[in-house]
């Protein structure tokens, strides 16, 4: 008797939706053991983690505030990941978007017209896109691996922001503290629901996800991206330019991350600070894969991961559970979610004999 995974002929449709539920249930079971071992009531913790953060309109709005940058970054990153372009520097592109758009708001001052917000969004897209253009150029021109260049440029971007807010852009009336002036009202995203922080960025992130879905499933470029990702050789035969796709996916991913950064500073923050993102650009990588690189899956995954962060805060506040414990719990949750995915494509079997390991050519050959 031995356990093995047998490939399904086609992915199970029902399990596409079933495995996440299974994973959450397993996490709850294992989490309960963890919480009980640490002397907390498991039910109370789970309630505080998953329900309390969103038991009010305000909570739901906060969920979108937290999910918006994650979804925007992840939708953009997924385009690249599908084409085997490993941009892991969304955090830096997000920062540059915030710098470009925020810089425009500071430059425009208090009495700019209604064009300002739109111009800031354009600047955000441009800033993020240009920052991603560096890895794109270095990759296509010098063959430099984008994993390294995009990651290193993230640190450079954060230091650049630090330089600006500690130096030339600091608020002249701010007692030399590291912050810029607050943006004028014209440079702030409108709040869509009074009493909450639900801002214009949320519906735009939704639109971005829909647009991403449209591009991937209905447009030729989406088809090209998929082909390049799955069978690079075939892409060559078909005459698709890998170079062009590298540029497009990196620019699109960077621009969307830049927009996410602009939304952070023109939305909930309202000024430039040394720290504008708690690592959205990195978390978005997980979101992209949890969403199976599908824009609509990313939407759900983004909301869910956002909930897990809000849950981590809530259990600290209502139950005094240290952040370390919610970190462990969050890690477990991700492990189960990622591992349960296997059931979509494979069927667990107990077999009495081992099948000969005949090699079947994989899809990528």
């Amino acid at each position: 008797m031995r356990f093995r995974l047998e490939a399904r002929e086609r992915p199970s449709r029902s399990l596409v939706y079933g495995t996440p539920v299974l994973a959450v249930a397993l996490t709850m079971a294992c989490g309960s053991v963890l919480f009980a071992a640490l002397g907390h009531n498991p039910l109370a913790v789970l309630h505080a983690f998953f329900i309390q953060p969103i038991d009010s309109l305000y909570g739901l709005a906060e969920l979108t505030v937290k999910a918006t940058p994650l979804v925007l970054c992840a939708v953009g990153l997924a385009l690249g990941f599908r084409a085997n372009i490993w941009n892991i520097g969304a955090e830096g592109q997000l920062t540059l978007g915030a710098i470009a758009g925020g810089g425009l708001a500071l430059w425009a001052g208090d009495d700019a017209g209604p064009w300002l917000l739109w111009a800031m969004m354009a600047a955000g897209l441009l800033g993020g896109g240009l920052w991603a253009a560096i890895p794109a150029y270095l990759k296509t021109r010098f063959n430099a691996n984008e994993i390294l260049t995009s990651l290193m440029l993230t640190y450079v971007a954060i230091l650049l922001l630090s330089y600006l807010v500690h130096g030339p852009w600091k608020d002249p009336d701010g007692y030399s503290f590291p912050q810029t002036r607050m943006f004028a009202d014209g440079g702030m995203l409108p709040v869509l629901l009074s009493g909450t922080r639900l801002h214009l960025g949320a519906p735009i992130a939704l639109l971005a996800a829909l647009a991403g879905w449209f591009v991937m499933s209905r447009m030729f470029i989406g088809f090209q991206i998929k082909v390049v990702g799955l069978t690079p050789a075939a892409a060559g035969f078909a005459g698709f330019s890998v170079r062009r796709l590298t540029w497009i996916t990196l620019l699109a991913g960077g621009a969307m991350a830049g927009l996410a950064g602009l939304f952070e500073v023109a939305g909930p923050i309202g000024q430039l600070l040394p720290s504008i993102s708690p690592g959205y650009g990195f978390t978005a990588i997980i979101v992209a894969f949890l969403g199976r690189l599908h824009p609509l899956g990313i939407l759900i995954a983004g909301l869910f991961i956002a909930l897990s962060y809000l849950g981590g805060e809530t259990v600290q506040i209502t139950l005094g559970l240290p952040l370390a414990v919610s970190g462990v719990f969050q890690g477990m949750l991700l492990f189960f979610l990622l591992a349960a995915d296997v059931l979509v494509r494979y069927r667990p079997r107990w077999t009495t004999t081992t099948t000969a390991g005949a090699a079947v050519a994989g899809e990528a050959d």
Partner: protein, 362 residues
């Protein structure tokens, strides 16, 4: 499994938790709830660690009459407002927000919760229910400067800065003024590490400064790594935030220790007694908001006496660390003899005094 909807399960969980909460609630007469928002993990052994010790002091002082809550590693940015609001809306009557970047979110949330008292550390915006508080750490830097001036042989002091903000610049200046008061030949080299907390980088910065001839290392960062590096290389160091003696018994001259305990207990008591008032507290040695860690037993008696005397003089008001004449790096007199810098000028300080090498990043 997949047919089981989540909704009924969640409803059931909710009911169970509610029942639990109700049971727990009847056991105690409403304790006063005090909340804390921390920028780092409580295990950072620096800034946040010291605030958490202050939180524990509240628990110790009032026992079952208070309940404290903290949220750690809350990044400055969009998250802060939500966390502060959540604390305010869950019955916390007093909320300490312990990082500069929480200033605007604190003020914003305070507007929607007029009955909740807010205490923001290191900022400058007050409101009817928002106080600010900070410690005059520069007083400790003054004492460190006097000691360093006596102990240095190379006349080069290494100073590890985190970020070029007024708080750090003020510390560098207070230190340098005192240093040159006892040793006019001494100069200060500053290295910025652009982080509050990265033991490896702080240690490397200390070593770099030692290699450039520094024989006393000051730090305005949180980890004990510079004290360790000094011990390893056989030079002196002054610790920060906590007493770091045990990380470098031979190198540790003293440390400028953050002591929030008294302030936190006082403000909590004020809320409990109903006489909390908004204000701006900038407490010094005499208020016990900072303290000098035990001086190294290897200090010569006269140096030790001088340090103790300086402590007493600062507490009595006889000595002000920013007493004129003070000249800037260009040699221009900023403060004439007989005058001292006022708090406004100290708050926004963004220039170096004479004796600091290098230019202040602008």
């Amino acid at each position: 499994m997949k047919t089981l909807g989540l909704k009924p399960l969640m409803g059931w969980l909710g009911a169970a938790a509610l029942a639990l909460a109700l049971n727990a609630g009847t056991a105690l007469a409403d304790p006063t709830k005090v909340g804390f928002v921390y920028v780092g993990p409580i295990g950072d052994h620096g800034w946040t660690y010291r605030h958490d010790i202050g939180r524990k002091a509240i628990e110790k002082a009032f026992g079952a009459k208070v309940k404290t809550t903290f949220v750690e590693s809350v990044k400055e940015g969009a998250d802060a407002e939500r966390v502060i609001r959540k604390l305010a809306s869950t019955g916390h009557k007093l909320i300490f927000t312990t990082s500069f970047g929480y200033m605007n979110p604190t003020v914003k949330v305070a507007k929607s919760f007029p009955d909740v008292r807010f205490e923001h550390a290191t900022g400058y915006k007050q409101a009817g229910n928002v106080s600010t508080y900070m410690a005059r750490f520069y007083e400790g830097r003054h004492i460190a400067g006097l000691i360093a001036g006596k102990m240095t042989k190379s006349n080069v002091i290494g100073y590890i800065g985190s970020f070029p903000i007024p708080e750090v610049v003020r510390g560098i200046n207070a230190f340098t003024l005192a240093l040159r008061q006892v040793n006019p030949k001494a100069t200060v080299k500053v290295v910025w590490v652009n982080t509050w907390y990265d033991p490896g980088k702080e240690g490397a910065a200390a070593k770099a400064l030692i290699d450039q001839g520094a024989d006393v290392i000051l730090q305005h960062t949180d980890s004990p790594a510079p004290v360790q590096a000094a011990q390893e290389r056989g030079v002196w160091a002054v610790g920060q935030a906590s007493d770091m003696t045990h990380f470098g018994p031979k190198s540790h001259l003293t440390a400028i220790v953050d002591v929030w305990d008294g302030y936190y207990v006082d403000r909590t008591r004020a809320v409990m007694d109903g006489n909390w008032k908004s204000g701006d507290t900038w407490g010094g040695l005499k208020d016990g908001m900072l303290a000098m860690a035990p001086y190294n037993p290897a200090l010569p008696a006269d140096v030790l006496a001088m340090a103790k005397q300086a402590e007493a003089d600062i507490m009595s008001g006889k000595v002000h660390p920013f007493q004129g004449p003070i000249r800037d790096q260009a040699g221009k007199e900023k403060v004439p003899a007989g005058k001292s810098l006022d708090d406004g000028a100290l708050l926004s300080m963004n220039w170096y005094v004479e004796g600091v090498q290098g230019k202040l990043p602008k």
